[in-house]
Subunit: 342 residues, 2 copies
C-alpha cells in the first residue's frame, strides 16, 4: 500500500485527493487527510477525496511516502513544525503555497535532512474555497511550478513532477526568487488591482447606484477581490517586496494611460495604444504564450504583428477619426455660435 | 406593419433584432437593418436578426416608428446627420452608446424637433463583437439606462422603456451627467484598469514566462482589455473628465493598499482590509445591490455586517496571526544567529 497524506483538505487539498484517485496512477493507493477543521475533513472524506481522516497531522504523516501540505502559506510554518519528527526517512514533502522564498527557508529550518522538500505551486484555483468546491480536474492544463530545495533528491523532484502530471498539469522548474517575481506580476498584482478596485467603488457614496449598474466588465475585473482573506493576506506578507514593486509599476502604467486619455491633441495615440493592447490580448487569449516560435509567427499577418497593427487597419481608422474629430470640432463651434447668437 | 430600424448590426444591434422578434411583443413587426459593413448586414440578415437589409441609413429609417442607433459612440454623430431628414415625424430615435452627455448634445443639434430622441444604454455586452456573437437573451436581467432628451414625448420614453422590457431588461431613468458619472466608475474604470494591467505585463521583458503562468485570476482581471478599440476609444474621448477623475481615485486607492502591505507593523490592519473587501464582495455577488432593504438586512449575521466582520471571526484570526508572526520573527532570528555562527 502506498500512503499519500494531504494536510489541509480545502479546495486544493481535496482536489488533489480526488484527482490522484481518479488518475489511478499509484497502485494500491491510500490517501490520508488531515485538517484543523473537522467540517472540512468530514466533507473531504464523504466526497471520496481522502480514504482516512486523521485530525493530528503528526499521526497523519506516519508511513506516508508523499506528504502534500495544502494550507495557506503562513500555516505552513506550523504544519512543518508539527510533522517534522513524524516524517518517514526518505519521504517526499511538497506544498501548494502561492509564494516560495519564505516556504523554502522554513523547510530548510524545519524539515529533517533524511526527507526531501520540493516546493510546489499549481497555477489553478477559483474564488470559492473549501472541499465542497473541489474537483478532480481542477489542475488539468494548468502549470505546476516546482521549486526543489537544494538538498532534494532527484527521485523526490520526479515524484512531485509525477504528481503534477497525474493531475493533468505541466511541471515547470524554477527557483524560489524567480517564482515569487513572476507570480507577483501575473497573480498577486491582479489580486491587489482587483481588490483596490472593488474597495474604491464599494466605499463610494454612490455604491447603491453603482452596484445596480455593475455588469459583466465590473464583475470580471473585480472577481478575485473575493479571494479568501487568509490566502490574500499570506500572499501579501510573504511576497511583500515583489508585490510593492509591481504595484508601483502598475500605478505608473495607469498614469501613462490617464495622460494619454487627457491628451486631447493626440486621440490617435490613444487609439493606437488601445488597438495594440486589444490585439495582443486576443493573441494571448488564443494561445500565443511563451516564446513565440517560428510556426506560430507564420500564422500572423505578413510582416508580423507590429507591421499589421500600424498598418492598413489603423491607418484607415486614423483617417476616419481625424474626419470625425474635425466634424465634432465643427459641431461644437456651431453650437457655441448658436448659444452666443441666442 | 410596424417598422423598427436598427442602424449598426453588430453585437448589440443584432441582439436587439433577435430579442425583439423572439419576444413577439410587436404585432406585424418588420425589422430593417443598416450597417456600413456589408458583411455584418449579411450575417445579421441570414441569422434572422433583421428582415430587410438596407445599406443607406436614410433609406432604412423611412417609415420606421422606432429607430435604434447601435453604433460606437463617435459614429452616432455621422449617423444622426445621415438620417435626420429622412425620419418620419413622430418617430422615436434611441441609441445604445456607452456615454450620454455628448450624445444628447448631438441629438439636440441634429435630430428634428418633430421626432423624439430618448438616449439608451443597455448595461450588457461581451468582449466578442459583431453579429455572430449576438443572442436574443443578451439583455436579460440587465439594467437599461434611459436618458430622455428634454423635449422627448412621454410616449417616446414609454416606447424605449417597452423596448428594454421586451428584451428582458429593467429600465432605469437618469440624466446624462449622472449616467456618465456612474458608468465611469463601474464600467469605464474597470476597462482602463484592466487595459493598463494587461499592457504593463505584456510590455514586461518576462512576458514569455508570465504568459505561460497566467491563470484564471489574470485572465478574468484583464478580460475587458480585449474590448474593441473603437468602443474603448470612443468611451474615453466622450467621458474624459469622469474617467480621469476615477483613474486618479483608483491610483490613490492602490497607493493606500500598497502602504498597508508595506506596513510590517500592521499586518492585522491589512487582514482587516482584505477580510472586509472579500466579505462585501461576496455580499455583492450574492445579490445585495442597490439600497439594502430591511428584509435583506435580516439575512445578515446578528448585529449587521460590520459587527460580524470585526467580531469573533476576525478576533480569532488576529490571535493566530500574532502568534504566527511571533513564531516567524523567532525563526528569522534563529536563522540569522545560525548564519552568524557559521
Amino acid at each position: 500500500m502506498t500512503t499519500v497524506t494531504i494536510i489541509g483538505t480545502g479546495l486544493l487539498g481535496a482536489s488533489i485527493g480526488l484527482g490522484l484517485k481518479a488518475s489511478r496512477k499509484i497502485p494500491d493507493l491510500e490517501v490520508v487527510g488531515s485538517d484543523r477543521s473537522p467540517d472540512h475533513l468530514r466533507t473531504a472524506r464523504s466526497m471520496g477525496a481522502i480514504d482516512r481522516a486523521e485530525a493530528d497531522p503528526a499521526k497523519a504523516v506516519r508511513g506516508a511516502a508523499l506528504v502534500i501540505l495544502a494550507v495557506p502559506v503562513l500555516g505552513l510554518y506550523d504544519v512543518m513544525e508539527d510533522i517534522a519528527e513524524a516524517l518517514e526517512p526518505g519521504a517526499v514533502v511538497t506544498d501548494t503555497g502561492s509564494t516560495k522564498t519564505d516556504v523554502l527557508r522554513w523547510a530548510r529550518e524545519l524539515i529533517p535532512s533524511e526527507t526531501s522538500f520540493v516546493g510546489g505551486h499549481p497555477m489553478a484555483g477559483k474564488t470559492d474555497s473549501g472541499p465542497s468546491a473541489a474537483s478532480a480536474d481542477l489542475f488539468e492544463h494548468a502549470q505546476w511550478i516546482i521549486v526543489p530545495a537544494v538538498n532534494a533528491s532527484e527521485g523526490a523532484v520526479k515524484a512531485v513532477a509525477g504528481l503534477a502530471e497525474s493531475l493533468g498539469a505541466t511541471p515547470r522548474y524554477m527557483d524560489a526568487e524567480e517564482h515569487d517575481a513572476y507570480v507577483a506580476a501575473v497573480s498577486h498584482l491582479p489580486l491587489m488591482a482587483s481588490t483596490a478596485l472593488f474597495r474604491l467603488t464599494r466605499d463610494s457614496e454612490a455604491w447603491p447606484e453603482l452596484s445596480l449598474l455593475a455588469a459583466g466588465g465590473f464583475k470580471d475585473t473585480t472577481r478575485v477581490a473575493g479571494t479568501h482573506p487568509d490566502m490574500a493576506h499570506d500572499i501579501a506578507v510573504t511576497n511583500r517586496t515583489q508585490i510593492i514593486h509591481w504595484l508601483e509599476r502598475y500605478r505608473e502604467a495607469l498614469r501613462t494611460l490617464q495622460e494619454q486619455i487627457a491628451d486631447v491633441e493626440d486621440e490617435e495615440g490613444l487609439y493606437r495604444y488601445l488597438a495594440q493592447t486589444s490585439m495582443e490580448h486576443e493573441a494571448f487569449m488564443t494561445g500565443q504564450v511563451g516564446r513565440v516560435e517560428v510556426d506560430q509567427k507564420g500564422e500572423m499577418p505578413e510582416g508580423g504583428m507590429d507591421d499589421f497593427i500600424f498598418g492598413s487597419y489603423i491607418a484607415e481608422r486614423m483617417r476616419e477619426m481625424t474626419k470625425r474629430s474635425e466634424e465634432r470640432m465643427a459641431a461644437r463651434e456651431r453650437e457655441e455660435r448658436m448659444r452666443r447668437e441666442h
